[in-house]
């Protein structure tokens, strides 16, 4: 028996809502994050990841409330990211019930924050997220602000620096693939996972259980973050209740339209595919 590969349900949050976008933009409202979180827990997700898409100071309290409600009924790890800039920001979400924090913009601007935070909270609590965009010369550069802002930082050397500074885990997101369902950028994941010895989480582009398996087998990822597939699975199986405020695009929910490129898939169908490929997987209650 050894460590299993993890399926992480990633939930992008805007205000009180779970949202999903393409290329990290054009957000559509899908429902209440806590409802989806509870469902993924019962389905056997290994972990949850909440990313605050707006991350304004004004909405921080609302995120902490969501973390509190989730952590009171879901007994699996929760990573929270989006707009965390200081040791105090990190402490606030940890005290609300998060187990790990994911840092991006703040640490590209001030890499020393990785060292301070891992020194203070322990390496294992500090996750650094890299949003990568492939350049025309084939190189990958890190972006911030949900893939909107250029930094000029080269991804592989940045990943190595992140490890040196003491972070416990790297989430590598392909902005090009995010929300497309075309599959993870295996080349990118492979480059990063072979350059560091801390765990690497593949993120961005998962459209099928086969994509998840190949991110692990070919990409060398320790864990895979999945969003759209799972969200559409939940939406297709559950009737949406309540008012989803006036934020974002709710047309998708009202029409219950399917999403052209991404078919709904449950956590158990992802795990079945992983088992088929000989990937060590935690055995849990399997539902179809």
């Amino acid at each position: 028996m050894s460590l299993t590969k993890r399926v992480i349900a990633r939930l992008d949050i805007k205000g009180p809502n779970l949202v999903k976008g393409i290329h990290l933009e054009g957000l559509r409202v899908l429902g209440k994050p806590e409802d989806f979180a509870r469902y993924y827990y019962s389905q056997g997700a290994e972990e949850l990841m909440y990313m605050d898409m707006v991350a304004s100071l004004y909405e921080r309290n609302s995120l902490e409330e969501i973390i509190r409600r989730t952590a009171s009924e879901v007994f699996i790890p929760l990573t929270v990211g989006g707009g965390l800039r200081t040791i105090n920001d990190i402490r606030a979400v940890l005290l609300a019930g998060a187990d790990k924090v994911s840092l991006n913009t703040a640490v590209i601007r001030n890499p020393e924050l990785i060292r301070q935070a891992s020194r203070y909270f322990g390496s294992s609590t500090i996750v650094v997220s890299i949003e990568a965009i492939k350049q025309s010369d084939g190189k990958y550069l890190a972006y911030v602000d949900n893939g909107r802002e250029y930094t000029g930082v080269e991804v592989v050397s940045w990943a190595q620096k992140i490890e040196e500074l003491g972070a416990g885990e790297i989430v590598i997101t392909s902005v090009d693939r995010e929300g497309t369902g075309l599959g993870y950028d295996i080349n990118l994941i492979q480059k990063v996972s072979s350059a560091v010895s801390i765990p690497v989480v593949a993120c961005g582009g998962g459209g099928s259980p086969e994509h998840v398996s190949s991110a692990i087998v070919e990409g060398g990822a320790e864990a895979v973050a999945v969003a759209s597939m799972l969200h559409y699975d939940y939406v297709s199986k559950n009737s949406m209740k309540g008012d989803f405020s006036n934020e974002g695009n709710t047309e998708f929910l009202k029409k219950k339209s399917s999403f052209a490129k991404i078919k709904p898939n449950s956590i158990s169908s992802i795990k079945k595919e992983m088992i088929k490929n000989g990937i060590p997987t935690r055995c849990t209650r399997m539902e179809n």
Partner: protein
Amino acid sequence: MYKDGKLKMVKPKIAIIDYKMCNLFSVEHACRYVGGDPIITTKPEDVRSADAVILPGVGAFHDAISNLRELGMDTAIIDVISGGIPFMGICLGFQLLFSSSEEFGTSNGLGVFNGAVRKFPRDVNGYTLKIPQMGWNSISINKESHILKGVNDDTYMYFVHSFYVLPEDNDIILTKTTYSDFEYCSSISDTNVFACQFHPEKSGEEGIKIYRNWVASI
């Protein structure tokens, strides 16, 4: 539990030690979920008057031990343990019970048990370990304990750690876990103390069983 000889169920008061380091909410909630009455506290007197005590844990060993000493918690912990009060240590709270750690230079622990806290080796049998170990790994049960009632051998629990505990006394080892080919002690039990490297409050329903068993024993 019964108090004053009356047949009235009283929820056991569980002091969760807050030393400004970690996620206390999930530990608190797990206690409440299984019928305990948890309080999060920075006061040694709350620890001394509780029915049971939890030292949770995420964070760096050196800062943790300094914070505990500053709060006067170090002596309170040693006193309640020697007084027979049920005590649970989780993750860093497990490591802190041992004599010393090599995280960021050598620091002395609480010394309740003899043994060292060591960093995982980089290479085991030619294979590079990813450090920290982060994720679900199984526990192999080393001895009988009421704490593991209903929990099967090879059950998966959630781990996040770069350091492991090497106890001097093998008899206290409750479970072992193997990370790649590297086997280490993942929990201990000794009279009123149970402590584990994994996070039962993050290990789904199987981890909640451990909380239920522990609270039932108070």
